[in-house]
Symmetry: C2
Subunit: 325 residues, 2 copies
Protein backbone atom coordinates (compact mmCIF):
# COMPACT_ATOMS: atom_id res chain seq x y z
CA UNK A 1 0.00 0.00 0.00
CA UNK A 2 1.51 3.31 -0.97
CA UNK A 3 1.65 6.31 1.32
CA UNK A 4 -1.41 7.89 -0.25
CA UNK A 5 -3.49 4.74 0.20
CA UNK A 6 -2.36 4.50 3.82
CA UNK A 7 -3.46 8.06 4.51
CA UNK A 8 -6.83 7.38 2.92
CA UNK A 9 -7.35 4.30 5.09
CA UNK A 10 -6.40 6.29 8.18
CA UNK A 11 -8.84 9.04 7.24
CA UNK A 12 -11.57 6.48 6.77
CA UNK A 13 -10.88 4.94 10.18
CA UNK A 14 -11.21 8.40 11.73
CA UNK A 15 -14.50 8.82 9.91
CA UNK A 16 -15.62 5.47 11.37
CA UNK A 17 -15.02 6.93 14.84
CA UNK A 18 -17.19 9.94 14.02
CA UNK A 19 -20.01 7.72 12.85
CA UNK A 20 -19.62 5.57 15.97
CA UNK A 21 -20.07 8.67 18.14
CA UNK A 22 -23.25 9.45 16.25
CA UNK A 23 -24.65 5.97 16.64
CA UNK A 24 -23.79 5.99 20.34
CA UNK A 25 -25.46 9.37 20.92
CA UNK A 26 -27.31 9.85 24.16
CA UNK A 27 -31.00 9.00 23.68
CA UNK A 28 -31.60 12.11 25.79
CA UNK A 29 -33.79 10.22 28.18
CA UNK A 30 -32.67 8.36 31.24
CA UNK A 31 -29.16 9.35 32.22
CA UNK A 32 -27.94 5.78 32.77
CA UNK A 33 -28.66 4.77 29.18
CA UNK A 34 -26.66 7.72 27.87
CA UNK A 35 -23.83 6.94 30.26
CA UNK A 36 -23.59 3.35 29.05
CA UNK A 37 -23.35 4.52 25.45
CA UNK A 38 -20.69 7.10 26.37
CA UNK A 39 -18.68 4.37 28.07
CA UNK A 40 -18.89 2.28 24.91
CA UNK A 41 -17.64 5.20 22.88
CA UNK A 42 -14.66 5.63 25.24
CA UNK A 43 -13.58 1.99 25.18
CA UNK A 44 -11.35 2.06 22.12
CA UNK A 45 -10.81 -1.33 20.59
CA UNK A 46 -8.52 -2.21 17.72
CA UNK A 47 -11.35 -1.61 15.24
CA UNK A 48 -10.33 -4.81 13.52
CA UNK A 49 -13.71 -5.33 11.84
CA UNK A 50 -14.04 -1.83 10.32
CA UNK A 51 -10.43 -2.19 9.18
CA UNK A 52 -11.23 -5.47 7.41
CA UNK A 53 -14.27 -3.89 5.80
CA UNK A 54 -12.37 -0.85 4.56
CA UNK A 55 -9.47 -2.94 3.29
CA UNK A 56 -11.84 -5.28 1.44
CA UNK A 57 -13.57 -2.27 -0.15
CA UNK A 58 -10.31 -1.24 -1.87
CA UNK A 59 -10.87 -4.00 -4.43
CA UNK A 60 -14.14 -2.43 -5.64
CA UNK A 61 -14.36 -0.13 -8.63
CA UNK A 62 -16.85 2.17 -6.86
CA UNK A 63 -14.76 2.46 -3.73
CA UNK A 64 -13.96 6.17 -4.07
CA UNK A 65 -17.56 7.20 -4.58
CA UNK A 66 -18.76 5.03 -1.68
CA UNK A 67 -16.19 6.03 0.91
CA UNK A 68 -18.54 7.75 3.32
CA UNK A 69 -21.07 4.88 3.09
CA UNK A 70 -18.25 2.39 3.65
CA UNK A 71 -17.19 4.25 6.81
CA UNK A 72 -20.75 4.13 8.03
CA UNK A 73 -20.88 0.39 7.37
CA UNK A 74 -17.54 0.06 9.16
CA UNK A 75 -19.09 1.69 12.21
CA UNK A 76 -22.09 -0.67 11.94
CA UNK A 77 -19.97 -3.84 12.00
CA UNK A 78 -18.10 -2.44 15.01
CA UNK A 79 -21.45 -1.80 16.71
CA UNK A 80 -22.44 -5.44 16.15
CA UNK A 81 -19.16 -6.38 17.84
CA UNK A 82 -19.84 -3.97 20.75
CA UNK A 83 -23.38 -5.23 21.31
CA UNK A 84 -22.11 -8.81 21.32
CA UNK A 85 -19.38 -7.94 23.83
CA UNK A 86 -21.94 -6.37 26.18
CA UNK A 87 -24.17 -9.45 26.00
CA UNK A 88 -21.22 -11.84 26.24
CA UNK A 89 -19.93 -10.11 29.36
CA UNK A 90 -23.28 -10.74 31.05
CA UNK A 91 -22.90 -14.43 30.41
CA UNK A 92 -19.22 -14.57 31.34
CA UNK A 93 -19.68 -12.53 34.51
CA UNK A 94 -16.67 -10.59 33.27
CA UNK A 95 -15.63 -7.69 35.54
CA UNK A 96 -13.20 -6.09 33.08
CA UNK A 97 -12.80 -5.71 29.31
CA UNK A 98 -9.78 -3.90 27.84
CA UNK A 99 -8.88 -2.80 31.38
CA UNK A 100 -12.21 -1.02 31.85
CA UNK A 101 -15.15 -2.22 33.96
CA UNK A 102 -17.71 -4.02 31.80
CA UNK A 103 -21.22 -2.60 31.40
CA UNK A 104 -22.66 -5.42 33.49
CA UNK A 105 -20.17 -4.98 36.35
CA UNK A 106 -20.66 -1.22 36.43
CA UNK A 107 -24.42 -0.97 35.86
CA UNK A 108 -25.67 -4.48 36.53
CA UNK A 109 -26.67 -7.29 34.21
CA UNK A 110 -30.11 -5.83 33.73
CA UNK A 111 -28.86 -2.57 32.28
CA UNK A 112 -26.42 -4.52 30.12
CA UNK A 113 -29.20 -6.56 28.49
CA UNK A 114 -30.92 -3.37 27.27
CA UNK A 115 -27.73 -1.49 26.44
CA UNK A 116 -26.88 -4.29 24.01
CA UNK A 117 -30.42 -4.27 22.60
CA UNK A 118 -30.30 -0.49 22.24
CA UNK A 119 -27.17 -0.73 20.11
CA UNK A 120 -28.81 -3.44 17.98
CA UNK A 121 -31.82 -1.18 17.45
CA UNK A 122 -29.57 1.67 16.27
CA UNK A 123 -27.97 -0.70 13.74
CA UNK A 124 -31.37 -1.67 12.34
CA UNK A 125 -32.43 1.98 12.08
CA UNK A 126 -29.33 2.88 10.09
CA UNK A 127 -29.45 -0.16 7.81
CA UNK A 128 -32.90 0.95 6.66
CA UNK A 129 -32.58 4.74 6.77
CA UNK A 130 -29.22 4.75 4.98
CA UNK A 131 -30.46 2.22 2.47
CA UNK A 132 -28.04 -0.67 3.03
CA UNK A 133 -30.48 -2.98 1.34
CA UNK A 134 -27.97 -5.33 -0.21
CA UNK A 135 -26.22 -6.19 3.07
CA UNK A 136 -29.05 -5.69 5.60
CA UNK A 137 -30.23 -9.30 5.66
CA UNK A 138 -26.62 -10.41 5.96
CA UNK A 139 -26.35 -8.45 9.22
CA UNK A 140 -29.36 -10.42 10.47
CA UNK A 141 -27.76 -13.71 9.43
CA UNK A 142 -24.55 -12.77 11.20
CA UNK A 143 -26.27 -11.89 14.48
CA UNK A 144 -28.06 -15.25 14.29
CA UNK A 145 -24.74 -17.05 13.72
CA UNK A 146 -23.19 -15.17 16.64
CA UNK A 147 -26.04 -16.19 18.95
CA UNK A 148 -25.77 -19.81 17.86
CA UNK A 149 -22.03 -19.74 18.47
CA UNK A 150 -22.51 -18.49 22.01
CA UNK A 151 -25.39 -20.88 22.65
CA UNK A 152 -23.25 -23.74 21.34
CA UNK A 153 -20.37 -22.71 23.56
CA UNK A 154 -22.65 -22.63 26.58
CA UNK A 155 -24.13 -25.98 25.70
CA UNK A 156 -20.69 -27.57 25.64
CA UNK A 157 -19.47 -25.76 28.71
CA UNK A 158 -17.73 -28.15 31.07
CA UNK A 159 -18.26 -31.10 28.73
CA UNK A 160 -15.33 -33.42 28.07
CA UNK A 161 -16.97 -34.67 24.89
CA UNK A 162 -16.58 -31.44 22.95
CA UNK A 163 -15.20 -32.16 19.48
CA UNK A 164 -13.04 -30.17 17.08
CA UNK A 165 -16.11 -29.74 14.84
CA UNK A 166 -18.13 -28.30 17.69
CA UNK A 167 -15.29 -25.94 18.58
CA UNK A 168 -15.09 -24.76 14.96
CA UNK A 169 -18.87 -24.19 14.91
CA UNK A 170 -18.61 -22.16 18.09
CA UNK A 171 -15.77 -19.95 16.90
CA UNK A 172 -17.53 -19.43 13.60
CA UNK A 173 -20.22 -17.58 15.58
CA UNK A 174 -17.84 -16.08 18.09
CA UNK A 175 -15.44 -14.51 15.57
CA UNK A 176 -15.40 -15.75 11.99
CA UNK A 177 -18.98 -14.83 11.04
CA UNK A 178 -18.49 -11.12 11.72
CA UNK A 179 -15.09 -11.00 9.98
CA UNK A 180 -16.80 -12.62 7.02
CA UNK A 181 -19.61 -10.03 7.10
CA UNK A 182 -17.08 -7.19 7.30
CA UNK A 183 -15.31 -8.37 4.15
CA UNK A 184 -18.52 -9.12 2.25
CA UNK A 185 -20.09 -5.78 3.19
CA UNK A 186 -16.96 -3.91 2.08
CA UNK A 187 -16.96 -5.85 -1.18
CA UNK A 188 -20.65 -5.46 -2.00
CA UNK A 189 -20.82 -1.77 -1.12
CA UNK A 190 -17.77 -0.92 -3.20
CA UNK A 191 -19.09 -2.71 -6.26
CA UNK A 192 -16.81 -5.76 -6.35
CA UNK A 193 -17.67 -8.47 -8.85
CA UNK A 194 -19.20 -11.70 -7.57
CA UNK A 195 -15.91 -13.52 -7.99
CA UNK A 196 -13.97 -10.89 -6.03
CA UNK A 197 -16.71 -10.76 -3.35
CA UNK A 198 -16.51 -14.51 -2.99
CA UNK A 199 -12.72 -14.40 -2.53
CA UNK A 200 -13.06 -11.61 0.03
CA UNK A 201 -15.67 -13.69 1.84
CA UNK A 202 -13.18 -16.58 2.04
CA UNK A 203 -10.51 -14.17 3.21
CA UNK A 204 -12.72 -12.78 6.02
CA UNK A 205 -13.95 -16.20 7.09
CA UNK A 206 -10.54 -17.86 7.27
CA UNK A 207 -8.94 -14.79 8.79
CA UNK A 208 -11.59 -14.99 11.52
CA UNK A 209 -10.89 -18.67 12.24
CA UNK A 210 -7.16 -17.99 12.33
CA UNK A 211 -7.65 -15.00 14.61
CA UNK A 212 -9.70 -16.91 17.19
CA UNK A 213 -7.45 -19.99 17.22
CA UNK A 214 -4.49 -17.64 17.66
CA UNK A 215 -6.19 -16.03 20.63
CA UNK A 216 -6.85 -19.44 22.15
CA UNK A 217 -3.24 -20.51 21.56
CA UNK A 218 -1.88 -17.36 23.21
CA UNK A 219 -3.70 -18.28 26.36
CA UNK A 220 -1.37 -21.28 26.68
CA UNK A 221 1.82 -19.59 25.56
CA UNK A 222 1.85 -16.27 27.38
CA UNK A 223 1.82 -15.59 31.07
CA UNK A 224 -0.75 -13.53 32.89
CA UNK A 225 1.72 -10.62 33.20
CA UNK A 226 2.40 -10.56 29.44
CA UNK A 227 -1.25 -10.55 28.48
CA UNK A 228 -2.27 -8.01 31.10
CA UNK A 229 -5.14 -10.31 32.02
CA UNK A 230 -5.45 -13.59 33.87
CA UNK A 231 -4.79 -16.63 31.68
CA UNK A 232 -6.87 -19.77 31.34
CA UNK A 233 -10.06 -18.05 32.26
CA UNK A 234 -11.76 -20.14 29.58
CA UNK A 235 -10.62 -23.45 31.05
CA UNK A 236 -11.69 -22.37 34.54
CA UNK A 237 -15.12 -21.60 33.17
CA UNK A 238 -15.42 -24.89 31.33
CA UNK A 239 -14.74 -23.52 27.87
CA UNK A 240 -12.31 -25.97 26.31
CA UNK A 241 -10.41 -24.57 23.37
CA UNK A 242 -8.61 -26.26 20.51
CA UNK A 243 -5.26 -26.99 22.27
CA UNK A 244 -7.11 -28.74 25.11
CA UNK A 245 -9.42 -30.63 22.74
CA UNK A 246 -6.43 -31.99 20.80
CA UNK A 247 -4.55 -32.85 23.99
CA UNK A 248 -7.59 -34.85 25.14
CA UNK A 249 -7.38 -37.03 22.02
CA UNK A 250 -4.28 -38.69 23.46
CA UNK A 251 -5.40 -41.43 25.85
CA UNK A 252 -2.25 -40.97 27.90
CA UNK A 253 -3.05 -37.34 28.71
CA UNK A 254 -6.83 -37.46 28.71
CA UNK A 255 -7.36 -38.67 32.32
CA UNK A 256 -4.99 -36.06 33.71
CA UNK A 257 -6.77 -33.27 31.83
CA UNK A 258 -10.16 -34.55 32.99
CA UNK A 259 -8.85 -34.46 36.55
CA UNK A 260 -7.94 -30.78 36.06
CA UNK A 261 -11.37 -30.09 34.56
CA UNK A 262 -12.98 -31.57 37.64
CA UNK A 263 -10.73 -29.56 39.93
CA UNK A 264 -11.62 -26.39 38.04
CA UNK A 265 -15.33 -27.13 38.44
CA UNK A 266 -14.83 -27.37 42.21
CA UNK A 267 -12.88 -24.10 42.23
CA UNK A 268 -9.60 -25.88 42.95
CA UNK A 269 -7.70 -24.70 39.87
CA UNK A 270 -4.81 -22.56 41.08
CA UNK A 271 -1.38 -21.55 39.77
CA UNK A 272 0.05 -25.08 40.12
CA UNK A 273 -2.81 -26.60 38.14
CA UNK A 274 -2.44 -23.90 35.53
CA UNK A 275 1.20 -24.83 35.01
CA UNK A 276 0.28 -28.52 34.92
CA UNK A 277 -2.34 -27.91 32.25
CA UNK A 278 0.05 -25.88 30.14
CA UNK A 279 2.64 -28.69 30.37
CA UNK A 280 0.05 -31.34 29.42
CA UNK A 281 -1.13 -29.33 26.45
CA UNK A 282 2.46 -28.87 25.25
CA UNK A 283 3.71 -32.41 25.93
CA UNK A 284 0.70 -34.10 24.34
CA UNK A 285 1.25 -32.19 21.13
CA UNK A 286 -2.14 -30.50 21.52
CA UNK A 287 -0.62 -27.05 21.26
CA UNK A 288 1.38 -27.96 18.15
CA UNK A 289 -1.69 -29.49 16.52
CA UNK A 290 -3.77 -26.38 17.18
CA UNK A 291 -0.94 -24.25 15.88
CA UNK A 292 -0.89 -26.28 12.65
CA UNK A 293 -4.62 -25.67 12.27
CA UNK A 294 -4.12 -21.95 12.74
CA UNK A 295 -1.55 -21.99 9.97
CA UNK A 296 -3.91 -23.88 7.69
CA UNK A 297 -6.55 -21.17 8.10
CA UNK A 298 -3.92 -18.47 7.56
CA UNK A 299 -2.92 -20.27 4.34
CA UNK A 300 -6.52 -20.47 3.19
CA UNK A 301 -6.91 -16.75 3.78
CA UNK A 302 -3.65 -16.14 1.93
CA UNK A 303 -4.89 -18.19 -1.02
CA UNK A 304 -7.90 -15.88 -1.21
CA UNK A 305 -5.58 -12.86 -1.20
CA UNK A 306 -3.58 -14.37 -4.07
CA UNK A 307 -6.78 -14.97 -6.04
CA UNK A 308 -7.73 -11.30 -5.73
CA UNK A 309 -6.71 -8.72 -8.32
CA UNK A 310 -3.40 -7.17 -7.32
CA UNK A 311 -3.78 -4.10 -5.17
CA UNK A 312 -1.67 -2.18 -2.65
CA UNK A 313 -3.87 -3.41 0.16
CA UNK A 314 -2.97 -7.03 -0.65
CA UNK A 315 0.44 -6.35 0.88
CA UNK A 316 -1.16 -5.38 4.19
CA UNK A 317 -3.27 -8.55 4.17
CA UNK A 318 -0.14 -10.61 3.41
CA UNK A 319 1.71 -9.04 6.32
CA UNK A 320 -1.21 -9.72 8.67
CA UNK A 321 -1.32 -13.37 7.61
CA UNK A 322 2.42 -14.09 7.31
CA UNK A 323 2.94 -13.60 11.04
CA UNK A 324 0.73 -16.61 11.65
CA UNK A 325 1.92 -18.97 8.95
CA UNK B 1 -67.73 -6.31 11.45
CA UNK B 2 -69.80 -8.71 9.39
CA UNK B 3 -69.49 -12.47 9.53
CA UNK B 4 -67.34 -12.59 6.41
CA UNK B 5 -64.92 -9.99 7.75
CA UNK B 6 -64.69 -11.90 11.02
CA UNK B 7 -63.81 -15.11 9.21
CA UNK B 8 -61.15 -13.31 7.19
CA UNK B 9 -59.60 -11.90 10.37
CA UNK B 10 -59.63 -15.33 11.97
CA UNK B 11 -57.98 -16.84 8.88
CA UNK B 12 -55.32 -14.16 8.99
CA UNK B 13 -54.60 -14.83 12.67
CA UNK B 14 -54.15 -18.51 11.82
CA UNK B 15 -51.76 -17.51 9.08
CA UNK B 16 -49.83 -15.42 11.63
CA UNK B 17 -49.35 -18.59 13.68
CA UNK B 18 -47.94 -20.41 10.63
CA UNK B 19 -45.47 -17.61 9.99
CA UNK B 20 -44.53 -17.59 13.68
CA UNK B 21 -43.69 -21.29 13.47
CA UNK B 22 -41.47 -20.57 10.50
CA UNK B 23 -39.65 -17.73 12.22
CA UNK B 24 -39.16 -19.87 15.32
CA UNK B 25 -37.77 -22.81 13.32
CA UNK B 26 -34.96 -24.79 14.88
CA UNK B 27 -31.61 -23.43 13.67
CA UNK B 28 -30.63 -27.09 13.36
CA UNK B 29 -27.58 -26.60 15.45
CA UNK B 30 -27.36 -26.86 19.20
CA UNK B 31 -30.39 -28.58 20.62
CA UNK B 32 -30.96 -26.05 23.44
CA UNK B 33 -31.43 -23.17 21.00
CA UNK B 34 -34.06 -25.13 19.09
CA UNK B 35 -35.78 -26.10 22.32
CA UNK B 36 -36.04 -22.48 23.46
CA UNK B 37 -37.66 -21.50 20.16
CA UNK B 38 -40.06 -24.45 20.37
CA UNK B 39 -41.05 -23.32 23.87
CA UNK B 40 -41.74 -19.84 22.53
CA UNK B 41 -43.92 -21.29 19.82
CA UNK B 42 -45.90 -23.26 22.40
CA UNK B 43 -46.57 -20.34 24.74
CA UNK B 44 -49.70 -18.96 23.18
CA UNK B 45 -50.38 -15.35 24.06
CA UNK B 46 -53.41 -13.30 23.18
CA UNK B 47 -51.70 -12.13 19.98
CA UNK B 48 -52.90 -8.63 20.77
CA UNK B 49 -50.29 -6.92 18.59
CA UNK B 50 -50.88 -8.95 15.41
CA UNK B 51 -54.60 -8.42 15.97
CA UNK B 52 -54.11 -4.64 16.16
CA UNK B 53 -52.01 -4.74 13.01
CA UNK B 54 -54.54 -6.79 11.06
CA UNK B 55 -57.46 -4.68 12.25
CA UNK B 56 -55.65 -1.45 11.30
CA UNK B 57 -54.92 -2.88 7.85
CA UNK B 58 -58.64 -3.16 7.11
CA UNK B 59 -58.73 0.61 6.46
CA UNK B 60 -56.27 0.30 3.56
CA UNK B 61 -57.37 0.07 -0.07
CA UNK B 62 -54.68 -2.52 -0.86
CA UNK B 63 -55.55 -4.73 2.09
CA UNK B 64 -56.84 -7.69 0.09
CA UNK B 65 -53.78 -7.88 -2.12
CA UNK B 66 -51.41 -7.55 0.85
CA UNK B 67 -53.00 -10.09 3.18
CA UNK B 68 -50.16 -12.56 3.24
CA UNK B 69 -47.59 -9.79 3.75
CA UNK B 70 -49.74 -8.35 6.53
CA UNK B 71 -49.85 -11.72 8.29
CA UNK B 72 -46.07 -11.93 8.03
CA UNK B 73 -45.77 -8.44 9.56
CA UNK B 74 -48.22 -9.49 12.26
CA UNK B 75 -45.90 -12.37 13.14
CA UNK B 76 -42.94 -9.94 13.18
CA UNK B 77 -44.55 -7.58 15.71
CA UNK B 78 -45.41 -10.57 17.88
CA UNK B 79 -41.76 -11.69 17.65
CA UNK B 80 -40.64 -8.26 18.88
CA UNK B 81 -42.98 -8.76 21.82
CA UNK B 82 -41.61 -12.28 22.47
CA UNK B 83 -37.98 -11.16 22.36
CA UNK B 84 -38.77 -8.34 24.78
CA UNK B 85 -40.53 -10.73 27.16
CA UNK B 86 -37.51 -13.04 27.18
CA UNK B 87 -35.14 -10.16 27.95
CA UNK B 88 -37.54 -8.62 30.50
CA UNK B 89 -37.86 -11.91 32.36
CA UNK B 90 -34.08 -11.96 32.82
CA UNK B 91 -34.26 -8.59 34.51
CA UNK B 92 -37.33 -9.38 36.56
CA UNK B 93 -36.02 -12.77 37.68
CA UNK B 94 -39.47 -14.02 36.73
CA UNK B 95 -39.98 -17.77 37.23
CA UNK B 96 -43.26 -18.03 35.33
CA UNK B 97 -44.99 -16.32 32.41
CA UNK B 98 -48.51 -17.33 31.36
CA UNK B 99 -48.22 -20.26 33.76
CA UNK B 100 -45.17 -21.67 31.97
CA UNK B 101 -41.56 -21.51 33.19
CA UNK B 102 -39.75 -18.54 31.64
CA UNK B 103 -36.79 -19.10 29.34
CA UNK B 104 -34.42 -17.75 31.97
CA UNK B 105 -35.78 -19.96 34.76
CA UNK B 106 -35.71 -23.09 32.59
CA UNK B 107 -32.45 -22.57 30.70
CA UNK B 108 -30.67 -19.86 32.71
CA UNK B 109 -30.21 -16.16 32.14
CA UNK B 110 -27.34 -16.73 29.78
CA UNK B 111 -29.37 -18.79 27.32
CA UNK B 112 -32.19 -16.25 27.60
CA UNK B 113 -29.93 -13.37 26.51
CA UNK B 114 -29.10 -15.15 23.26
CA UNK B 115 -32.56 -16.60 22.70
CA UNK B 116 -33.90 -13.04 22.67
CA UNK B 117 -31.10 -11.90 20.36
CA UNK B 118 -31.74 -14.85 18.06
CA UNK B 119 -35.37 -13.83 17.65
CA UNK B 120 -34.30 -10.23 16.95
CA UNK B 121 -31.93 -11.48 14.26
CA UNK B 122 -34.74 -13.44 12.58
CA UNK B 123 -36.86 -10.27 12.52
CA UNK B 124 -34.06 -8.32 10.79
CA UNK B 125 -33.57 -11.10 8.24
CA UNK B 126 -37.23 -11.08 7.30
CA UNK B 127 -37.59 -7.29 7.20
CA UNK B 128 -34.89 -7.22 4.51
CA UNK B 129 -35.58 -10.47 2.64
CA UNK B 130 -39.32 -9.86 2.43
CA UNK B 131 -38.76 -6.25 1.47
CA UNK B 132 -40.50 -4.42 4.32
CA UNK B 133 -38.55 -1.31 3.47
CA UNK B 134 -41.17 1.23 4.44
CA UNK B 135 -41.58 -0.06 8.01
CA UNK B 136 -38.13 -1.53 8.68
CA UNK B 137 -36.62 1.56 10.31
CA UNK B 138 -39.76 1.91 12.40
CA UNK B 139 -39.09 -1.52 13.89
CA UNK B 140 -35.62 -0.26 14.88
CA UNK B 141 -37.12 2.86 16.47
CA UNK B 142 -39.60 0.77 18.40
CA UNK B 143 -36.95 -1.57 19.80
CA UNK B 144 -34.97 1.51 20.90
CA UNK B 145 -38.07 2.96 22.60
CA UNK B 146 -38.70 -0.39 24.32
CA UNK B 147 -35.12 -0.49 25.64
CA UNK B 148 -35.37 3.08 26.91
CA UNK B 149 -38.65 2.29 28.64
CA UNK B 150 -37.10 -0.64 30.46
CA UNK B 151 -33.94 1.30 31.28
CA UNK B 152 -36.07 4.17 32.59
CA UNK B 153 -38.10 1.76 34.69
CA UNK B 154 -34.93 0.30 36.16
CA UNK B 155 -33.48 3.72 36.83
CA UNK B 156 -36.54 4.67 38.85
CA UNK B 157 -36.81 1.36 40.62
CA UNK B 158 -37.34 1.85 44.33
CA UNK B 159 -37.36 5.64 43.98
CA UNK B 160 -40.05 7.63 45.78
CA UNK B 161 -39.48 10.59 43.46
CA UNK B 162 -40.89 8.92 40.35
CA UNK B 163 -43.29 11.27 38.57
CA UNK B 164 -46.35 10.70 36.41
CA UNK B 165 -44.31 11.93 33.40
CA UNK B 166 -41.60 9.38 34.08
CA UNK B 167 -44.20 6.63 34.47
CA UNK B 168 -45.76 7.63 31.14
CA UNK B 169 -42.33 7.57 29.47
CA UNK B 170 -41.70 4.13 30.87
CA UNK B 171 -45.00 2.65 29.73
CA UNK B 172 -44.55 4.20 26.31
CA UNK B 173 -41.58 1.90 25.89
CA UNK B 174 -43.08 -1.00 27.79
CA UNK B 175 -46.36 -1.18 25.86
CA UNK B 176 -47.51 1.81 23.82
CA UNK B 177 -44.62 1.96 21.33
CA UNK B 178 -45.24 -1.55 20.02
CA UNK B 179 -49.02 -1.06 19.81
CA UNK B 180 -48.27 2.09 17.83
CA UNK B 181 -45.92 0.21 15.51
CA UNK B 182 -48.52 -2.53 14.99
CA UNK B 183 -51.14 0.00 13.84
CA UNK B 184 -48.71 2.00 11.69
CA UNK B 185 -47.30 -1.11 10.04
CA UNK B 186 -50.80 -2.39 9.26
CA UNK B 187 -51.73 1.01 7.83
CA UNK B 188 -48.61 1.53 5.72
CA UNK B 189 -48.55 -1.98 4.30
CA UNK B 190 -52.23 -1.90 3.31
CA UNK B 191 -51.86 1.41 1.50
CA UNK B 192 -53.66 3.74 3.91
CA UNK B 193 -53.43 7.47 3.19
CA UNK B 194 -51.20 9.61 5.40
CA UNK B 195 -54.21 10.98 7.22
CA UNK B 196 -55.62 7.52 7.95
CA UNK B 197 -52.18 6.24 8.96
CA UNK B 198 -51.81 9.13 11.37
CA UNK B 199 -55.18 8.38 12.99
CA UNK B 200 -54.30 4.70 13.28
CA UNK B 201 -51.00 5.71 14.88
CA UNK B 202 -52.94 7.72 17.49
CA UNK B 203 -55.28 4.81 17.98
CA UNK B 204 -52.40 2.36 18.59
CA UNK B 205 -50.51 4.73 20.86
CA UNK B 206 -53.44 5.63 23.09
CA UNK B 207 -54.73 2.08 23.12
CA UNK B 208 -51.28 1.05 24.39
CA UNK B 209 -51.30 3.62 27.19
CA UNK B 210 -54.80 2.60 28.19
CA UNK B 211 -53.91 -1.07 28.11
CA UNK B 212 -50.89 -0.67 30.40
CA UNK B 213 -52.63 1.62 32.90
CA UNK B 214 -55.48 -0.89 32.97
CA UNK B 215 -53.03 -3.69 33.76
CA UNK B 216 -51.52 -1.62 36.55
CA UNK B 217 -54.97 -0.81 37.95
CA UNK B 218 -56.02 -4.46 37.94
CA UNK B 219 -53.11 -5.23 40.22
CA UNK B 220 -54.88 -3.19 42.94
CA UNK B 221 -58.41 -4.32 42.24
CA UNK B 222 -58.16 -8.05 41.80
CA UNK B 223 -56.94 -10.65 44.22
CA UNK B 224 -54.15 -13.10 43.59
CA UNK B 225 -56.66 -15.92 43.08
CA UNK B 226 -58.61 -14.00 40.44
CA UNK B 227 -55.55 -13.05 38.42
CA UNK B 228 -53.97 -16.49 38.67
CA UNK B 229 -50.73 -14.79 39.62
CA UNK B 230 -49.41 -13.04 42.73
CA UNK B 231 -50.46 -9.40 42.99
CA UNK B 232 -48.31 -6.39 43.74
CA UNK B 233 -45.21 -7.99 42.39
CA UNK B 234 -44.31 -4.59 40.88
CA UNK B 235 -44.50 -2.79 44.22
CA UNK B 236 -42.43 -5.47 45.91
CA UNK B 237 -39.79 -5.00 43.22
CA UNK B 238 -39.78 -1.25 43.55
CA UNK B 239 -41.76 -0.55 40.39
CA UNK B 240 -44.30 2.09 41.39
CA UNK B 241 -47.24 2.34 39.06
CA UNK B 242 -49.73 5.11 38.45
CA UNK B 243 -52.15 4.41 41.35
CA UNK B 244 -49.25 4.49 43.82
CA UNK B 245 -47.72 7.60 42.25
CA UNK B 246 -51.01 9.47 42.56
CA UNK B 247 -51.56 8.24 46.11
CA UNK B 248 -48.11 9.59 47.03
CA UNK B 249 -49.15 13.07 45.92
CA UNK B 250 -51.34 13.31 49.01
CA UNK B 251 -49.17 14.41 51.94
CA UNK B 252 -51.42 12.56 54.34
CA UNK B 253 -50.82 9.20 52.68
CA UNK B 254 -47.29 9.70 51.44
CA UNK B 255 -45.41 8.78 54.67
CA UNK B 256 -47.41 5.60 55.11
CA UNK B 257 -46.73 4.52 51.55
CA UNK B 258 -43.03 5.29 51.94
CA UNK B 259 -43.02 3.11 55.05
CA UNK B 260 -44.43 0.24 52.98
CA UNK B 261 -41.84 0.87 50.26
CA UNK B 262 -39.11 0.57 52.84
CA UNK B 263 -40.63 -2.59 54.29
CA UNK B 264 -40.80 -4.09 50.79
CA UNK B 265 -37.13 -3.31 50.21
CA UNK B 266 -36.27 -5.23 53.37
CA UNK B 267 -38.45 -8.15 52.29
CA UNK B 268 -41.07 -7.42 54.96
CA UNK B 269 -44.02 -6.92 52.63
CA UNK B 270 -46.54 -9.67 53.40
CA UNK B 271 -50.29 -10.15 53.02
CA UNK B 272 -51.11 -7.56 55.72
CA UNK B 273 -48.96 -4.89 54.05
CA UNK B 274 -50.51 -5.75 50.72
CA UNK B 275 -53.98 -5.09 52.12
CA UNK B 276 -52.75 -1.88 53.73
CA UNK B 277 -51.30 -0.63 50.45
CA UNK B 278 -54.50 -1.40 48.59
CA UNK B 279 -56.50 0.51 51.19
CA UNK B 280 -54.13 3.50 51.02
CA UNK B 281 -54.29 3.60 47.24
CA UNK B 282 -58.09 3.48 47.31
CA UNK B 283 -58.63 5.92 50.23
CA UNK B 284 -56.21 8.52 48.89
CA UNK B 285 -58.02 8.62 45.60
CA UNK B 286 -54.92 7.38 43.77
CA UNK B 287 -56.81 4.50 42.23
CA UNK B 288 -59.65 6.75 41.05
CA UNK B 289 -57.19 9.25 39.58
CA UNK B 290 -55.37 6.53 37.65
CA UNK B 291 -58.70 5.17 36.48
CA UNK B 292 -59.63 8.61 35.14
CA UNK B 293 -56.35 8.73 33.23
CA UNK B 294 -57.07 5.34 31.73
CA UNK B 295 -60.43 6.60 30.54
CA UNK B 296 -58.81 9.68 29.00
CA UNK B 297 -56.51 7.49 26.92
CA UNK B 298 -59.45 5.28 25.95
CA UNK B 299 -61.29 8.42 24.82
CA UNK B 300 -58.31 9.62 22.80
CA UNK B 301 -58.17 6.24 21.10
CA UNK B 302 -61.89 6.41 20.49
CA UNK B 303 -61.53 9.85 18.92
CA UNK B 304 -59.05 8.36 16.47
CA UNK B 305 -61.57 5.60 15.63
CA UNK B 306 -64.25 8.21 14.98
CA UNK B 307 -61.89 10.13 12.70
CA UNK B 308 -61.30 7.03 10.60
CA UNK B 309 -63.43 6.20 7.57
CA UNK B 310 -66.33 4.02 8.63
CA UNK B 311 -65.57 0.32 8.45
CA UNK B 312 -66.88 -2.85 10.04
CA UNK B 313 -63.71 -3.16 12.07
CA UNK B 314 -64.42 0.19 13.77
CA UNK B 315 -67.14 -1.58 15.75
CA UNK B 316 -64.61 -4.02 17.16
CA UNK B 317 -62.31 -1.16 18.15
CA UNK B 318 -65.23 0.62 19.80
CA UNK B 319 -66.13 -2.49 21.80
CA UNK B 320 -62.52 -2.88 22.93
CA UNK B 321 -62.40 0.73 24.09
CA UNK B 322 -65.89 1.09 25.57
CA UNK B 323 -65.13 -1.41 28.29
CA UNK B 324 -62.52 0.99 29.64
CA UNK B 325 -64.29 4.30 29.30
Amino acid sequence: MNRYEEIELQQDLEQVEKYLSGYLRDPGYGSAAGQILRDMEMSRGKRLRPRLLLMASRYGSEFQGSRSRLCRLGALVELVHMASLIHDDIVDDAPLRRGMPTTQSKYGKDMAVYAGDLILSRIVQSLFRDGFMRVGAYFGDTVEAMCLGELGQMEYRGREDITVDQYMSNIYGKTAALCRLACVAGAVESGCSEEVTSQLEQLGLNFGYMFQIRDDLLDFISTSAEEGKPTQVDFREGIYTLPVIYAMQDGQYRPRIIRLMQLAKKGGFGAAEEEELKALVVDSGGLAHASTDMKIYAQKAMRAVENLPDHGVSTVFRELLHKNM
